[in-house]
Amino acid sequence: MTRSVSDHDTDYKTTNTEESRHALEPGTPAPNFTLHTTPDQTVSLTSFRGQPVILAFYPADWSPVCGDEVTLLNEVLPEFRRYNAELLGISVDGVWCHLAFARDRKLKFPLLADFEPKGAVARRFGVYRRHEGVSERALFILDETGTVHWSYVSPIGINPGADGILNALESLPRQANASGNNAPADTART
């Protein structure tokens, strides 16, 4: 579950484009972005400087199984918050779709709409599947300075689970102000 991104390169050669064979590697500063999470709210990556960020790219809302990735991440959210980490879901779906999906799954973390220009953020992180027009199922853990600490691209049909995320958060250098901070972070940053 914790194979590095490069282990997966060969899995995708037949279907992937150049853009999705170069997921940002550990040590790379993550490009900043600002995306809508609701029709009138945006989220900027820079707002989360000083705390770890989990970026969960996924292909589309409304996966037909009940144990899907966002549902699982939602359940594990209290564990992520023990590391003072903020979880952001990102797909190319629009804000209204995200709103309905988040309400249906009772999600307690923001979904970001990488909608216009379509997939622009996924492309910058190297996880866009041009032929399908969706992002990979990819996870990035950013440290408190906004640098990629760990990344993982899952085979697109396989929910990667959350064990890799927890292991990566554990391996982050301890933050001076993070221990014992269980307070949910404000997700409505504009």
């Binding site: 009940c66 929910n159 990667p160």
Partner: protein, 181 residues
Amino acid sequence: MAKLAVPVNAQDHIRGNANAPLTLLEYGDYQCPYCGAAYPIVEQVRQHFGDRLRFVFRHFPLTQVHPAAESAAEAAEAAGAQGKFWEMHDMLFTHQYALDDVHLAKYAAVIGLDVGRFKLDLASHAYAEQVREYFLSGVRSGVNGTPTFFINSERHDGSYDLPTLTAALQSALARGGLSVS
């Protein structure tokens, strides 16, 4: 291949021959329809393998999408504290459509629990921590939905229809036999 992070231990609920050479472990949610569909398959697999198989069930309630899953899991643990985990497990999977507190108490009465103690345990969430421990052990093991099966501590990523699950178990049994000889 994801591996079971917490090996089968004394706290686990084990059905069948505790010393069987083959272990089928399920992380499941009593309100999940897919787990409900898997329940009779697991029963058939248990019948097929008999004493060669032990079955272990661990809780993995997806509480945001299945609002009754947490109390159902705690109900199974409360029944387990009275020595009747599997009786409650069977009741829950055969009555997935009615998992509210009133029905849980009825099931407790049907299987012969001390209902007063059972209700107290549910009201005080006496087993919430234990259920959370199971859930976290599943997260650490790479559980990525419900049900997730492990065969002899390796995650079974294939389908869990009867022929596929039986074949996977049979092949694990054969591998186990080879490694022993």
